[in-house]
Amino acid sequence: MSATGYNFAYLDEQTKRMIRRAILKAIAIPGYQVPFASREMPMPYGWGTGGVQVTASILGPDDVLKVIDQGSDDTTNAVSIRKFFVKTAGVRTTTSTSEATVIQTRHRIPETALTENQVLVYQVPIPEPLRFLEPREVETRRMHALSEYGLMHVKLYEDIARHGHIATTYAYPVKVDDRYVMDPSPIPKFDNPKLNDCPALQLFGAGREKRIYAIPPYTQVVSLDFEDHPFEPYRHDAACELCGATSSYLDEVITDDQGTRMFVCSDTDYCEIRRSSDGQERVTEEVQP
């Protein structure tokens, strides 16, 4: 059941067509930021309007939707966006990564490997990887057109000169298909290797900045680095205290006023599967519209 008075998945079909055209162009030019006529959505800019518009445009009645924020299905904004689609599209939702056909995410890539039958939709705050080096859109577009990425390498070099390390820990820039430098959205650089050669289609939506970009399946995505300072993903040197995982990305949780800490998986679905007795996926919790 969809909400009365609104089209399936909220956006009208004309708008969806416009967004789909932008998505197709984005897929045709991997890593290139396609301007699109972003609509005002009933949630605030900066809270996932780009991802929501992309999801609304690709969602069909048979899709199974998963929404995560910081790796978790139960954070407030993920809940809010999931409920939005339950209400406006009436689609089935899930918290299971492997069961979902469309996964909208903010700041994480699920730990469970994605498949060809899945689309990962990222919410993007600032799509322009060069923005903090050059504030002007006219300039940055020119730099992309000419593949003029020297400024970015100088920035990374200055990090090394100052700190001995590249001091970018999230939204770590990547080069897509050996052409465009792209902002992978503020995922931790731990997740960067998962962008590469991924069987799933990856779509990026920036609502406020009115840009869509894409990484088609099985595309080469390289994190920028230097021969003598190769890219290194960061992970807390600990195991998840709930499931014992030693290879997942961890959240640090402060448990008392004395500052005692524990580390737990950021990907709650991954952690729950590991903790369930048989290691099998549990039955999907369906949210009834």
Partner: protein, 368 residues
């Protein structure tokens, strides 16, 4: 043992229930009606319609009520509603000269055809809290007199008769619409004016003020400010002629600014233009000043001030975008923060190790 936070869904539902409760407030106090908001908080309704880009007093009043008087939140509600509405087309351009004027003043001529019409204004009032308004009371109707003139020619046009002010050239092409296509730079004046009309009043006010204080000074005069109602017509393809859609109240401001001229053009006055829904004089004036500031490059003026920087102004004027992005910092950022924390710890450990090394080598030096 502490387990990672769960229960977001129920917490949200409860928070929304609480919001609905406090929105209503003390049940012993009578609930606000939309008609009350529309009539007695009319200027708030005007602002919400203007920046919400939707002319509908009742919906704007509803938005204000729902937003508990937070006008930016109300603007957001109206915009989110507007985006779902089907679009039939654009209205015919209207001529402000045909306005049914309720207020019209010029700061450049003591008297002019049609005269100065003050209308309802806060100007010249003493800003003393009127304690008589604390209680409900009868307000006598204002005295009225029939208007002397039906039409008021604009001050700009009067100056143009003598060639003292630049002539506006009309745009043959269909004006662009930034709600239907992404803004790209450089933007034409049509898009700039649309952006400013939707822009945040406070932001435009501050920018306009900065031009007066020397950051992009352009010597403005308030050529004319008028407020009144104007008929809106729509060209119906099926009928082959324009049909009236209704009337909208608008405020128009024409600023007259100095222009020194250059090798090709003689000195003359130039214009900055502001138009806003309802009685929104502050907004229309600020808009006109910023519009003129943004024309600096076109007029070959030095352009280094913030108000003259098109990308800076147009990218940051929208309060719905701005409030969304500023307030999104309330969303969880655990993941990014953890990454930063990891790097910071590593850098601090390395720093401490270096210091220890230096102490050891210094101690060794001293011992030798």
């Amino acid at each position: 043992m502490y387990v990672a936070v769960k229960g977001g869904e129920r917490a949200i539902e409860n928070a929304h229930a609480l919001l609905a409760d406090v929105r209503r407030g003390d049940r012993a106090v009578r609930e606000l009606s939309l008609a009350q908001i529309d009539n007695q908080l009319a200027l708030g309704v005007d602002r919400v319609m203007c920046e919400g880009s939707l002319y509908d007093r009742e919906l704007a009043a509803l938005a204000i009520k729902q937003a508990r008087g937070d006008l930016i939140e109300a603007i957001f509600l109206l915009r989110a509603y507007r985006t779902t509405l089907p679009r039939f087309g654009a209205c015919e351009p209207f001529e402000p000269d045909a306005m049914d004027v309720r207020r019209r003043i010029s700061a450049t001529f003591k008297d002019l055809p049609g005269g100065q019409v003050l209308g309802p204004t806060f100007d010249y009032t003493h800003r003393l809290l009127d304690h008589e308004l604390t209680e409900e009371r009868e307000t006598p109707a204002a005295p009225t007199t029939p208007a002397k003139t039906a039409q008021f020619r604009s001050v700009g046009d009067l100056l143009a008769d003598d060639g003292l002010i630049e002539c506006e050239t009309s745009l043959d092409a269909e004006p662009r619409d930034l709600t239907r296509e992404p803004l790209s730079f450089p933007a034409g004046r049509d898009l700039r004016l649309q952006n400013l009309a939707r822009g945040d009043e406070g932001f435009l006010l501050a920018l306009a003020y900065s031009t007066q204080r020397g950051y992009g000074r352009n010597h403005p005069f308030a050529g004319e400010i008028r407020y009144g109602e104007i008929d809106v017509e729509f060209f119906a393809e099926d009928l082959g002629f324009a049909v009236p859609l209704g009337t909208v109240a608008v405020t128009e401001c024409q600023m007259i600014n100095q222009f020194k001229g250059n090798a090709k053009e003689a000195p003359c006055f130039t214009r900055g233009y502001g138009l806003a829904f309802g009685q929104s004089e502050r907004k229309a004036m600020a808009m006109a000043l910023v519009d003129r500031a943004l024309r600096a490059r076109e007029l070959g003026e030095e352009a280094g001030a913030p108000a003259q920087d098109e990308e800076f102004v147009l990218s940051h004027s929208d309060n719905v975008q701005a409030t969304g992005f500023v307030e999104h910092l309330k969303l969880p950022h655990y993941v990014d923060f953890q990454s930063e924390l990891g790097l910071l710890r590593q850098l601090r450990a390395e720093f401490a190790a270096r210091e220890t090394d230096e102490h050891i080598s210094m101690a060794q030096d001293a011992a030798e």
